[in-house]
Symmetry: C3
Subunit: 334 residues, 3 copies
């Protein structure tokens, strides 16, 4: 099942600009954690905390920093400034190219008025609607749906069950995992007494280059204008991005988080798992929202917040410590 | 990409029963927020807070209440009692009718024993099973699945990736966005020592008229009888409705909320983002559950609750204020 | 619409090893709760709390324990040691076998290099990729996708919209409800300055026998090795299982919960609704995490935790009681 091609340590060292200690002719064919790696595996030490595991590893080769010591088993070492980053690049280098023959496969549904690049792949069961555009080398997997007027750039992967609704636009190298929803109507209703009257959602979604969105996540189309996801932003699974949100570049949104409509996240914001942001708020560049926090007012750049309502994480920790002291006293008094 | 047709202000005024200030012959072709609207756009002022933005807008036409002042740019004003509601109705009026030619498209999978109205559209890649029924003018989008015995009323939109399982029933004008799940088995297991023994889920889901359900949301079939969603209820994305829940009319459930099995929500209940309700509880008409609250016991009508466990929002605010005071003191003591 | 076949009480009694009080020749054709059951329905009393409802029921037959009294209506009683478990088994006994003719239906997309058992069913619109394997009597529903190299055991149900990605492996009798995602890439990025560099996810997902996964849930593939879900584990809707998680047997994960990468759950752990577990933690066998709790450090076996951060539920209740006392005092002082 290996997704990796057999690769000599010497080739990895050259690709990574790493120095080798040991036999550079060793070949690795897979990747595994330090504890379970065998003589044919590449692994890495990202954190000095795990030095004991390094000492005991039986891996064929290990990417380490300048200080790490060679394991007893004699694993070859590849020394790099940032071992985890080097490991990512090593795996990308070793990865077998996916096998997708270009063209529209039998059983795909491509509208006569769609424009599909001759180097793109549209697999059986996929749908591409009228006026939709599919860029070079992009793969539309089975049972994915690209509706009328949607435009998808080059080298994208649109996995099964994913839906790109009418007129949404994706840049290059975008990855949408399974069952992603791009461009469903946002939550827009005006009250007429008890009735919820639908506000037609006339906008779209614009996704920049190198964006990756996890399985079963949703990005709603804007009521007016565009919901925007900036270049390099990564979104994990089961995340909700409300209509009209504006996400900067290199933003990170961890699983099950949610942004209400028109939230603005500047570049490099991080939202921890199941974080939340209420509507129309702005979060400054590089600010981190910790897991389960609910942001209820706009935040400046470069801070860390937690809790509900979210506030500086230090304050939240102080409250937790204070409550523990009171509990201790309370227990004695009762 | 405009989804709207060019429309004269005079026609809008007539449709809305609004009065015009300025040139009623002005034509609008799009919609945009006050700040970004251009001379061809319609916009609105829903809240006097944004009067400064109204003053500066360059919109072609603005829907406002009786008091708002005309912008410097000379935008035409349409005066209506409820500007936001009027704006919703204006967009509905301007919306171009979607272009779905009736009939079963090539590449659709319709069972010989299904009943599809001749005015319905079943798009390529969609599936309609035996004994399933599709009502007049309803559209089944690509890669949507309507299983055996399911019945869908008139003028519904069943978007790509959405699944309506066996024997579930939808009323008229129901909108199910992408990857919605209707009628999966609920969480029903009886314990046999450590084993979880499945309780067959023999019921279905019944959805009333004018219901809209957001992308990747789930409504489970009842163990016995029906899970019911009342007329006019709106459910946003990634919401979980457990088996046997009974939702009244005009209920509102915001994104990522969850109702455990057999919860009962009376008419006009509102569940804020990521709200939760435990099983077998009843929430009285018009009660509002705020974002992230967890309802752990039944609630009367007409109240507002927050927190975990949920309690009257006023009490929750008092606790927050109290904790802040203690923190202040605590800080001094330490 | 009944999913159940008409069954004599005598046959049920024999199947369950239950004793009968009343006319064992009575035929039941459906199932309903105590309150709404009619003379043709089977029902059960699982909890003595509902004795008043038993007294008033009009059900044809009721499964009860040794102590319950016969209803006024004269319903036949089936006495069993564990009425709820007996009810589950009774419904399984009464369930009509689903009607899926074996074979690859017209409109299914099965790669020439896939291996599909002759007794399996692949419905119209489903996709089975190269080198994929489908076991005996398994049903692949419309618009489900089984990608290259994935292997699915016998007697599985893969419902519409569900995706099993490349090289993932399922055991026997696995049920995946609608729009489930198995094997999407986990959240793996290494930082290169502001850039998030993708770590290829080279592992897969291994799912044991008798696992059931609810609608729109996600199980990510491991970065290296396998994400594992043990035999008999049940996962409800909209749940996130991060890459590399290791779940034991008979684990229960309720709706909207989330496990970060490499979390380890030993046998019989229970995660309540919307519970969360941070990455690389271990939860001991049989421990229960209550609804909305966030587990931030590893937990021993056999305890009950709640809150954020999660701690023993008793402590959490004590804090809540303490805060209420302080509020009372606080209110007087102000």
């Amino acid at each position: 099942m290996s997704a990796l091609k057999p690769t000599a340590v010497s080739a990895l060292a050259k690709h990574l600009g790493a120095t080798v200690e040991g036999d550079a002719k060793v070949i690795v064919t897979g990747a595994a954690p330090l504890e379970t790696a065998t003589a044919s595996d590449l692994t890495f030490l990202g954190n000095p905390r795990y030095s004991a595991q390094l000492a005991a590893t039986r891996a064929g080769a290990v990417i380490v920093d300048a200080k790490a010591k060679r394991p007893a088993s004699g694993s070859v070492l590849l020394r790099a400034a940032k071992p985890y980053l080097a490991f990512a690049k090593a795996l990308q280098f070793m990865l077998k190219p996916a096998q997708h023959s270009p063209g529209v496969q039998a059983g795909a549904h491509v509208d006569a008025a769609a424009k599909v690049s001759p180097t793109a792949t549209v697999m059986a069961g996929a749908y591409v609607g009228p006026q939709a555009q599919i860029g070079p080398r992009t793969v539309i997997f089975p049972n994915a749906s690209v509706l009328a007027g949607a435009r998808i750039g080059e080298d994208c992967l649109i996995y099964p069950g994913t839906v790109v609704r009418e007129d949404c636009v994706l840049g290059a190298r975008v990855i949408l995992h399974n069952n992603v929803s791009i461009g469903a109507d946002g939550y827009g209703f005006a009250q007429d007494g008890a009735l919820h009257v639908k506000i037609p959602q006339t906008g779209n979604v614009m996704i920049g280059d190198d964006v990756e969105i996890g399985a079963n996540s949703c990005v709603d189309r804007a009521a007016m204008g565009s919901t925007r996801i900036g270049r390099g932003t990564k979104i994990v699974n089961l995340v909700q991005i409300g209509h009209g949100c504006q996400l900067g570049e290199d933003v990170l949104i961890v699983a099950q988080s949610g942004l209400a409509g028109s939230a603005v996240l500047e570049d490099r914001v991080i939202i921890g798992a199941r974080g939340g942001v209420l509507g129309h708020l702005r979060i400054g560049a590089g600010t981190m929202v910790m897991s389960l926090a609910l942001v209820t007012k706009s935040l400046p750049a470069g801070i860390v917040v937690s809790g509900n309502p979210a506030r500086p994480h230090r304050e939240q920790l102080r409250r937790e410590a204070l409550l523990k002291r009171i509990e201790k006293k309370g227990g004695k008094d009762d």
